[in-house]
């Protein structure tokens, strides 16, 4: 595995988006992963519609009755991949733009699908496997505990203690080997995380969290997706 890897340098990551005051992080994590997978499948980076997921995805977890993807009230990336697989794919961002509310009706137009899911799977709780999957398959949908993200401004976040209760969906786009941690007097390796709170948050919309011990649960729920090439416009 390379010591440093970043899908942003390889054109697989769209611009940072902003979910606004809506708990739709799960939809941004889902579209981010599929945007990357679609780039690997087609060579083109196309920004995909979160609003389609917010309005149309009500996929439920068969093991947890009543637990369904629910717009601004929350959802889960794996359920959203399942929806995308069943629906046939996602539309372009411009064709179904984000509004930041879930009060609209579903306006999904099957003829405008630009990216489709071939399959998706969960990655084992092993940092080497997570790194290998991000290099081979593209950006990964991950869940994290966001308690330190409310006050994060920059640098490599490496809290001494952090809950592993997952409450936020984000996108893992790469990793680095040398984020200097003065207090520990050594270089820390870290994951590069794309967030959906706009470019004014964190490091131009990105978060760096250190690798090594499942900090804030970042290794606990990792999903990879593969895209199929579509021919419709």
């Amino acid at each position: 595995l390379p010591t440093d890897f970043d899908w942003r340098d390889r054109g697989a990551v769209a611009a940072v988006k902003n979910q606004g005051a809506c708990g739709s992080c799960w939809s941004f994590s889902t579209t981010g992963a599929l945007e990357g997978a679609n780039f690997l499948a087609t060579g083109k980076l196309v920004s995909l519609s979160e609003q389609q997921l917010v309005d149309c995805d009500h996929e439920c977890d068969p093991e947890e009755p009543g637990s369904c993807d629910s717009g601004c009230n929350g959802g889960l990336m794996n359920s959203a991949f399942e929806y995308t697989l069943k629906a046939g794919g996602l539309m372009r961002e411009e064709d179904y733009p984000y509004t930041g509310t879930d009060r609209g009706t579903c306006k999904f137009d099957k003829s405008k699908i630009v990216a489709s899911v071939a399959n998706f799977s969960v990655v084992s709780l092993d940092e080497e496997q997570i790194a290998a999957n991000v290099v081979k398959n593209g950006p990964l949908a991950v869940a994290i505990n966001a308690v330190f993200m409310q006050t994060y401004v920059g640098g490599v976040s490496c809290p001494y203690i952090c809950s592993k209760r997952l409450d936020h969906g984000v996108l893992l786009v790469g990793y680095g080997s040398a984020g200097y941690a003065p207090i520990r007097m050594k270089e820390k390796s870290y994951w590069i995380i794309k967030n959906s709170w706009g470019e004014n948050w964190g490091e131009n919309g990105y978060y760096k969290i250190c690798r090594g011990r499942n900090i804030c649960g970042v290794d606990s729920m990792v999903s990879t997706v593969a895209a199929v090439q579509t021919t419709s416009q």
Binding site: L1, Q19, C22, G23, S24, C25, D61, E63, E64, S67, C72, G74, G75, L76, N78, N119, F120, S121, V122, S124, Q129, A132, K136, N137, A146, V147, F148, Q150, T151, Y152, V153, G154, G155, V156, S157, C158, P159, Y160, I161, S163, K164, R165, L166, D167, H168, G179, Y180, A181, P182, I183, R184, K186, K188, W197, G198, N200, W201, C210, R213, T224
Partner: protein
């Protein structure tokens, strides 16, 4: 698991706590919480519909400055401070900006990604 984490961390890395002072802007009347709140409102274009709301948000902001300082001491390799969420309580922040259904586990029948070689 929190205790386990800190024990693990302490075992693997000798921690050195920074003890130099002088960074406490809140004690400086010129750079106190009011000043930071004004900067915050200007930077993020915040306005409040009533004086009561403004006062309440200022109280929350002050608590978040203290919280940012706590986060800074728990997470010294990152920088913590004022963000666009500094006028929200942790509960409001969770309710409004976090949306992962927390009770869910990964389905037991989910496809597992094949193990990839990492040694070459």
């Amino acid at each position: 698991s929190l205790e386990e984490n800190s024990v693990l961390s302490a075992k693997s890395e000798p921690l050195i706590r920074q003890v130099v002072g002088g960074a406490d802007n809140l004690n400086d009347p010129r750079l106190g919480a009011e000043h930071h709140f004004e900067l915050f409102k200007r930077r993020f274009g915040k306005s409040y519909k009533s004086q009561e709301e403004h006062d309440h948000r200022f109280k929350v902001f002050r608590a978040n400055l203290r919280r940012a300082r706590r986060h800074q001491s728990l997470d010294p390799s990152a920088t913590h401070g004022v963000t666009q969420f500094s006028d929200l309580t942790p509960a409001e922040f969770r309710r409004t900006f976090l949306g992962l259904r927390s009770r869910l586990r990964l389905p037991s029948d989910a496809n597992k990604a094949p193990i990839l070689p990492t040694d070459s």
